[in-house]
Amino acid sequence: MMRLRFVPAGESAVMALAEGDLEQRAAHLRGILAALDGAPPPHLVDAIPTDDTMLLLYDPLRTTAVEIETYVSSLALPAPVEDSESRLKEIPVLYGGEMGVDLGRVAAFAGVSESEVVELHVQTEYIVRFLGFMPGFPYLGPLPDRLTTPRHETPRTIVPAGSVAIAEDQTSIYPVASPGGWNLIGRTPCRLFDPREYPPSMLLPGDRVRFRPVDHAEYSRIHFEILAGQR
């Protein structure tokens, strides 16, 4: 059985640290999150997972870190889901041009052509490691080594919603317009975050993701279908 270590994070939260290799830790934490969803301990307020940690926030007037730790450690975890069985999401992307103004920069860092960057980006299957930074923002990996590109030193004041981007060894999609320093290589018409739905995020930790290149016509068609509520 996988073990967890706990570190206090103030009087209202405790950090659970998973041990083992990256894949084991991620699978373990996804199992815990699923189990907590089904049967949360009393007075747990929130649970925020990353690659190898889960922040457990609780009401300190009604429970204690020890009670939360005991509960989480004794959870009967569901059998680990094989990655091949988890949800596969396909994300249509219009690469380059004004939709992906940094495609050339990424190509220059990689020493390949822009179309080779697109090829590398779409031929990889990614795992949603966790969501953070802003509502519905997925941290996707692993990115092909070739595509590793540093962030912009000065972030842009506005990155449009739907921007598909690369920073360091990660790739992601901006669900809403925001300031950002990632390299923009394309844009998807998909709505990644919709607070009227539950879950509000289209992508969830553990999901598999593939990007599919589309042209202007298909991008527009999908965009209008989404606006019209047809998908």
Binding site: P8, G10, E11, S12, A13, T50, L57, F130, F133
Partner: protein
């Protein structure tokens, strides 16, 4: 049921709809949001017998100008924002009534940063993920995820019946003191063990609130804290985390913080002092004091017990004599009341 309550004539520096936030969605990257000074918002709702989670307006540094679109019961709490109603001064920490056409003009705060205006029944906007709070950086909640603009109309959820007395005042014993110098109690954060030296410096130094502070974080100027240049693990960020980025200048992470981050957090503000942190303004001086986790819980328990035991002092509308006699037996020193064109001012007679 919902009705128009206030027209925003001037929006102020940053006026947003806030309640107690949106807990439970951190795993989707959704920030908590909610009032920076939750205690003042709760007390405002208490003055009006609203539910604790009712939404109000959070007003920052310079407040708005609002026109009443009907008869309204209001509560004004938090920092003193120099409110006048039709030109007459109204002190904070009280409930009062206004009529159609009355103009509520908030000015600038001199001490503290944020005042709250609650309405009977609560401010009505479409709840998003269970909360009416505005998350400005995430663009959700409140008025389309943004601060108020001139021309906005604020609606209120109409309660079944109005029972507010002429005026209700919060007892002084309930109120926090805001000053230009504040000591915040902290407890150990997730990186306390790896950052002993930084913690010692944090506790020893005096800090000044930087002007680039907002609902996401309060930045502090002072000595640079030692922080190892290493890749720290990315992890969830507790509310009130004292984060130390690579440049060594600490940031207090408040309700609109990101849910995850990769900078170390040697300390977390004790929950009991979060409302005080939410009143910090640029130029304020801040010091820190470390307390044990058990003590932080006990301090929070004591504070909550004080808040739940105290009751607003009722001023019935049953004649001026009864009001004055109630005032004389209270610990209120000064009171100014207005209802429509009627105004009443009372000052405790000097006994010395």
């Amino acid at each position: 049921m919902s009705r128009d309550a206030l027209l925003v004539r001037r929006a102020g520096l940053q006026t947003t709809v806030q309640d107690l936030g949106r807990p439970g969605y951190g795993r989707f990257g959704v920030p908590l949001s909610g009032a920076m000074d939750t205690e003042s918002l709760r007390l405002g709702n208490r003055l009006l017998d609203n539910p604790a989670h009712a939404a109000g307006l959070e007003m920052t540094l310079v407040g708005p100008e609002l026109e009443a679109l009907g008869s309204l019961d209001c509560a004004y709490t938090g920092a003193d924002m120099n409110l006048t109603v039709n030109g007459r001064r109204i002190q904070p920490q009280r409930a009062f009534a206004v009529r159609e056409g009355d103009v509520l003009r908030f000015g600038a705060v001199r001490i503290g940063a944020r005042a709250y205006l609650c309405l009977r029944g609560g401010v009505d906007v479409e709840p998003v993920l269970g909360s009416r709070s505005t998350a400005v950086t995430a663009h959700i909640g409140g008025f389309e995820g943004r601060p108020l603009l001139g021309g906005d109309i604020i609606r209120t959820i109409e309660p079944a019946s109005s029972t507010t007395p002429l005026v209700r005042v919060l007892p002084h014993s309930l109120l926090r003191r805001y000053g230009r110098e504040t000591t915040l109690r902290i407890v150990e954060g997730p990186q306390a063990a790896e950052m002993r030296e930084a913690l010692e410096h944090l506790l020893a130094a005096d800090w000044t609130v930087n002007g680039r502070s907002n609902r996401v974080g309060v930045r502090l100027d002072g000595p640079r804290l030692p922080v190892r240049a290493q890749a720290w693990r990315t992890e969830g960020v507790p509310l009130g985390a004292v984060q130390v980025p690579a440049d060594g200048a600490p940031i207090l992470l408040l309700p609109d913080r990101q849910t995850t981050g990769g900078y170390p957090k040697p300390a977390v503000i004790a929950a009991v002092d979060l409302p005080t942190a939410g009143q910090l303004r640029p130029g304020d001086r801040v010091a820190f004091r470390m307390v044990a986790i058990e003590d932080a819980v006990e301090l929070l328990r004591e504070r909550e017990s004080l808040l739940s035991s105290a009751r607003p002092e009722r001023r019935s509308a049953g004649g001026i004599e009864s009001t004055i006699s109630a005032l004389e037996t209270s610990n209120v020193t000064e009171l100014e009341v207005q209802r429509g064109s009627l105004a009443f001012k009372w000052t405790r007679p000097s006994t010395e």
